[in-house]
Symmetry: C2
Subunit: 335 residues, 2 copies
């Protein structure tokens, strides 16, 4: 478990009986019956999640997308947003707000309020409110049962590649990706490298799939924000179960396959340990397969024995850790 998980466990102990008392879902449910709402909040910090010099419009859209992904994992329909910005004097505030307003409108979200303050560096926070679609359920993490099949909605590992390319100076601009002179990208790799940067900076929340999952009698879901392995551990811990994953069945982003040698990391490590893919990871009873239009892949099964086991050809593999926002980098790199 990461330090963030440990902190949440500790915090739950402080207030038994509260919403935090249950293993944390991607959003909190506040209120009851028709008045129940899903609430989630997420932040993007300069120098941690995003480079300080990122195009403010890209930044704004990503802030909305990572919050929408939390609602997607709950099966919620986004309604309204609050935006809280702490930004330094040179920050392109109007560009940020114009993009935030446009992105909210596209997502059917009313930007209802917020707060702006100055700060030595940019910390941007969004709170999203979602409702339960008519006929839908909230999707918890804790509903996985032994025998369920485990699904992953879209390829993973691409965002981790993009994150490393951005760390080396690549930037997404309105005219495409600009490569750093210090890390020029060979022409043959540019297409996939650009895709990876987009996967990282412009993730696509899977709201339609979340709504479909909410119509199932039983589904458990989480969005892959901290890495497939780490988020699968969370889903399993919340459900009191374990999982066996077939490494060969994991859809690995083609950018991760193509660029992993250049990054001196294995594509599977990027897929398992790289965070911020914002793909939905979910468990369904064995006969309930998602419609093909969602392009999800069956990657394993839920088992009774606790823990996450990654297998290749029946042999157990090492499981890398995920991104932990409280540490300085990948958890597995810590001493």
């Amino acid at each position: 478990m990461s330090s963030e998980d440990a902190l949440i466990r500790w915090l739950r102990g402080l207030q038994p009986g509260s919403g935090l008392d249950r293993p944390g879902d991607d959003a909190a449910i506040v209120g009851r019956g028709a008045a129940a709402r899903a609430l989630t909040t997420d932040q993007q910090v300069a120098g941690v999640h995003l480079p300080a010099d990122l195009d403010a419009a890209v930044w704004a859209r990503r802030l909305l997308a990572v919050n929408l992904s939390d609602l997607a994992a709950m099966g919620a329909q986004p309604c309204a947003a609050l935006l809280t910005l702490a930004v330094p004097p040179g920050f392109a505030l109007r560009r940020f707000l114009r993009a935030a307003v446009a992105a909210c409108r596209e997502a059917g979200v009313a930007l209802a309020g917020g707060d702006v303050a100055r700060s030595a560096h940019a910390v941007t926070t969004m709170t999203l409110i979602g409702r339960r679609p008519r006929g839908g359920r909230w999707i918890p993490r804790r509903a996985a049962r032994p025998g369920d099949r485990l699904w992953l909605a879209s390829p993973v590992g691409g965002s981790a590649v993009g994150q490393r390319l951005v760390a080396r100076g690549a930037r997404l601009t309105p005219r495409g990706v600009r490569w750093s002179p210090a890390d020029p990208m060979p022409g043959s790799l540019r297409g996939l490298a650009e895709l990876a940067v987009r996967r990282h900076l412009a993730p696509q929340p899977q709201l339609d799939l979340g709504r479909w999952l909410g119509t199932r009698p039983r589904a458990a879901a989480i969005d892959v924000s901290d890495g497939l392995a780490a988020d699968l551990r969370r889903l399993c811990a919340a459900s009191g179960v374990g999982a066996v994953v077939d490494a060969g069945a994991i859809p690995i982003d083609e950018a991760a396959r193509a660029l992993s040698p250049r990054l001196a990391e294995s594509a599977l490590d990027l897929a398992l340990g790289g965070g911020e893919d914002y793909s939905l990871l979910f468990a369904l009873p064995p006969r309930a397969a998602p419609p093909p239009r969602f392009g999800a892949s069956a990657i394993g099964r839920i088992v009774e024995a606790r823990g996450v086991r990654i297998e290749r050809d029946g042999h157990r593999m090492r499981v890398p850790g995920g991104w932990d926002h409280l540490r300085r980098g990948r958890a597995r790199r810590e001493p």
Copy 2:
């Protein structure tokens, strides 16, 4: 108007018909009928709102208090909170969270979720959700009408004194206020100086008064966060009216009276221009006086002619600006 007001006006223009389209209240109303909720968000930034070395428990309680004050101004009953923290490695996170949980419990608020990330300096954000008490109304800013009496719930100016003392090194600790050796406080002033520091760092949201205002057929309210003059201008602008304030009737905090000579500022300037008092400023029809238990003072009247006029003995006075969180300090100090 401050740069923050100008930004909000500009933002409203970007999304006509949204909640932002109306002159901003202290919280946004999301949903309809019984499902309607008041949502507010506010942040406390190290080096802007609070000194980076402030006791984390004091910090946590202040973050909750400033958000509760927004709900008080709406007549809302607080229900749930989300907490988003971007904090540097040395930040006393557990002390902060323990205090946040305790303060939320005391206020009847469920701390329902949040997010923690690292950051070069601390930016702490809270979102609060409130419901409408049974039989109550949401209190808007825009309901003031010519002929209304203008009321202020509690003395102002004390927080501004506290802010200046904190800037000079005073710190609130579990054992009282510790004075900086560089700015020793004479014994005769210590009691009031300590009161001012508490007014600034440990404000008291006026939820009971807000609930009472919500039972009135018509009331307009705002909490004094950016200074009495600036927030009165907002109330008037939202209502399309003006106000005449009797300077002699403004309840000025006794700490502001006692310490203003030492700060080389007038007590009235501190009361009118100093921010973060979190006192409710409200307008009521002439015959509707708040019950004496709230200790509110009638400070003037709402008039048809736009603008805010401060009078002493019938003569118009200069009105100082208020705190603007987007600028480097008090608006009136800008060149």
